[in-house]
Subunit: 358 residues, 2 copies
Amino acid sequence: MAQQEGLSGWLRLTLTPGIGGETQRKLLAAFGLPDAVFAAGRLAARAVAGERVDALFDFDPGEAVDRSITWAQQPGQHIVTLGDADYPASLLEIPDPPTLLYVRGNPALLARRGLAIVGSRNATPQGMQTAEAFARTLAGKGLAIVSGLALGIDAAAHRGALAAGGDTVAVIGTGADRLYPARNRELALAIAEHGAIVSEFPLGTPAVAANFPRRNRIISGLACGVLVVEAAPESGSLITARLAGEQGREVFAIPGSIHSPVARGCHKLIRQGAKLVETAADILEELGSEAAPDTETDASTNDGSDPVLAALGHGPCPLDDLVERTGLPADRLLGELLTLELAGRIATLPGNRYQRLG
Amino acid sequence: MAQQEGLSGWLRLTLTPGIGGETQRKLLAAFGLPDAVFAAGRLAARAVAGERVDALFDFDPGEAVDRSITWAQQPGQHIVTLGDADYPASLLEIPDPPTLLYVRGNPALLARRGLAIVGSRNATPQGMQTAEAFARTLAGKGLAIVSGLALGIDAAAHRGALAAGGDTVAVIGTGADRLYPARNRELALAIAEHGAIVSEFPLGTPAVAANFPRRNRIISGLACGVLVVEAAPESGSLITARLAGEQGREVFAIPGSIHSPVARGCHKLIRQGAKLVETAADILEELGSEAAPDTETDASTNDGSDPVLAALGHGPCPLDDLVERTGLPADRLLGELLTLELAGRIATLPGNRYQRLG
């Protein structure tokens, strides 16, 4: 597969300890592909992102890289990088897109128009029923149901989507080869078979509390809206809702009794401006469409500034992919790219690749 | 009692069939006191409000007038007119203040800072408990709890206020001598003893469906905010909430399960901008004060245009009352009244009374 050519460079960039997403993006913005970073060398990289880049040259995560490549060669297992044509366009809109994603299942689902449904692990039976019913209806309308594979609301949402024969994406906070929690193992296997399990964390990453909130930006990022079904006031679901707001996604919340502790988070969101939702139809109405246009079209339509810039996202992008993403004829696209380059908004990289600046 | 001097004129004006509130206010605006309308005669009255005023001169509701005067002479029974100093200032702010009010109990309560609590007659036990608990807490903080004496939420709200030893006002849609519904008779008697029952309808008026929505503007008008506890989407409580919004009052609503039919009205209100409320503290915080300043001070503070104009309200007002309401020294007040008169915003009436124009 052509797009996997530079994969070991992408893995080396992301598997080197101490090199965070921001540093990765700075280097990619400056040099284009990861291999170009390594070819440019330590001093050039330092000039861009400081001494922290030393780790990239001092430490060789070779074994982890090899293991990851082997993993991605198994059927139903994929690694999608920022440079790939099928990197989800919706994540290109967020300020901190993961540099690469480990995917079990069908990576094409990441391009579907998604709705995230999240909520409490300590949900009430009523809340789980609600989450499942909403997921079933909305998945039946063509929305991919995105959630976090946690117990409670998350699991109910995935189950509802699967029950409708619809699409569901589980964004997890562990390595894609580690399914957590154990009680959702069977559900996870069903999602891997009929949907997609996604993680930005290296293979083998165990369940670490700090990774879960970080993962939430991908849940909201993959969706055009987030529905919170039941949540405590200080909970991960509210973090997801906040991130959704920051990413320009719709936030929906289902109200409940004032005596229910897991309704408080939803009520807090509603007071902050989230849309109060009683039925799945409320959400479809708000999203303005019962059909499910693909996310790429959306991305280009939604970007206020420039459709080409939106399609470009934050990684280096081959011309062919841009043609496909924008739907523009190549000659017109080249003209627009030239304009953007002259305006200092993009850079042309070797191999007909384009990179957004800043 | 001096303010009851012209009472028979007020009663004749309001007890004549076919003379609605708008006509009454037109005539009062033109002539000042009701007696002056009758003294001016049919042609002068016609010039102001059209031929409908003929009824005033053709029809003599003498018996009903006498009966009402006798009623108001009994202990604990009062008639308060637009011209009285103790006409509630909060009602002077609304566009269609009742020309007179029949009051059983303590008319001074109408001047207290009020919060209306309304909701479904078919409330759930949980909803009634909620209404009672909110009323108890808020009455304990000095707010007069205003409601409509209906079964369900209304009754629970009155009960909560009484249980706290606080103030409560029942605005009813029947004559003040008719207590409806029968099942709330005992509660009504307790309110008459410890609070106030208020009606704008003539004595003897039976329960007529059309009168209840009309009465709702007085419920919201007497309050600085309306809390809806449980309500169906097309219900009287939502009318009260709408009127409250039009009158510039706060609207609060308590959310509930999406599966509860009596939560739907509240959810509708929240979507329209009502404040979602979980605790009594939410309301106190929104009202911006745990104390209970009297409503008159409020009225003058809240009026964006002119404190004198606000204190004047919509009825003819004696200078002495204006001094009391505005707290201004008489000479300064006279200066401001002259300015308003020259600006064509008020008229001076015989007997040192002032009347807002338009």
